[in-house]
Amino acid sequence: MALSSIQQGLIAQYEYAKFLMMGSGGLLELAAPMTDDERRDYEIHVRGRFGDGLANQVKSATHLHRMSKNVRYLLIQFDVRADRLINSPYFWYFFAFLDPKMMGLGDPCFLIPSADFHKMAAPRMRDGVWYFKMATSMEPKARDMWHPYRVRTVDLGERVLDILADLKKSRALPPSGLFALPGVVLLRRR
């Protein structure tokens, strides 16, 4: 008997939650939405700080592909109804290899902002549905286009804390489009 896709999905989510909680020293709180209409597996926030939550979708694979002799690839494909596609700085994807031998997530895993992912993951639209395909090398020395999004499992907590801190900073800034208007100057209180 093989692990069902429901079991696999749940285990990957548990693993992700564990690395976030332990890796942040308990600072990160995770909540699972009651409904999945917006394709979020978790809402994540820093303990005691509300309003800056990060929504995450967790995707996993239990085997790696050999695309060439010595290179193992993580290959994940999925589709999304076009009206449910979310491009937001607060919506991120998490991709990982769930290693059946080690019974845990393998290194590296990938944390990718939704807007970047939707641009880079070979998007194809057919009959109102978007199809995405992510193929990335798992080899330590690889420098493919997903390389900047690599994270080690034990660093996930700190990485998400950084992401949340950056989002908080960027929210404090006025929209960049404002500066494109003629004659606009920025005044700040000291």
Binding site: L3, I11, M21, G26, G104
Partner: protein, 202 residues
């Protein structure tokens, strides 16, 4: 300071340990084991565990974890945890088991070995003491590979947990009626009676 040096809360630790246990059972049994979390915790079960499609011999498991090992004065590392149970809630049943593990803050997973202990053995061998309406138990097991303490037979490596749980459930399914007759169902409630003491033959 790196946030990783801070400490997670006990609630977070409990959830992580339960999820880790569930993962190891599901993956280690290749999906054969199904787990369910009771809606209420009055019987002190964290999970009901059964084999896919086979009902009636489900194990109830309580998961206990520590994030620090002691050394009891020597070099050997010990997993030590204390449990206090209201006497009226003590469940001694062949299908009720305890699971003990060290959740390693560095690797962020359970370290080997872990321990699967039947409640009947636990309540007998884990230094039971009764104070008022409560039983106290102290589980103290060496984590060293060469150790020969009393908990060695209950050691299970994390990657073997699924297979071990499957064999326990299969064995229970065949021997349960005999075992229950011998031990008596509801020993827990017997121990809850005032002035009842546990006497053993040596």
């Amino acid at each position: 300071m790196s946030p990783r040096l801070a400490r997670i809360s006990l609630v977070q630790q409990g959830i992580i340990a339960q999820n880790e246990f569930a993962k190891l059972l599901m993956m280690g049994s290749r999906g054969l084991i199904e787990l369910a979390a009771p809606l209420t915790d009055e019987e002190r079960r964290d999970f009901e565990v059964h084999l896919h499609g086979i009902f009636g011999s489900a194990l109830a498991v309580q998961v206990k974890s520590v994030m620090q090992l002691g050394n009891l004065g020597g070099k050997a590392r010990y997993l030590r945890t204390r449990i206090t149970v209201r006497a009226s809630r003590l469940v001694s049943d062949p299908l009720f088991w305890y699971f003990f593990a060290f959740l390693d803050p560095k690797t962020m997973r359970f370290a080997d070995p872990t321990f699967l202990v039947p409640s009947l053995l636990m309540h007998e061998a884990a230094n039971p003491t009764r104070r008022g309406g409560f039983w106290n138990f102290t589980f103290e097991a060496s984590m060293e590979p060469g150790s020969h303490d009393r908990w060695v037979p209950n050691r299970v490596n994390t990657l073997d947990l699924g297979k071990t749980a499957v064999s326990i459930m299969r064995a229970q399914a065949s021997s349960l009626p005999r075992l229950r007759e011998r031990v008596g169902v509801g020993v827990g409630s017997l121990l809850a009676l005032p002035d009842v003491v546990l006497v053993r033959k040596h």
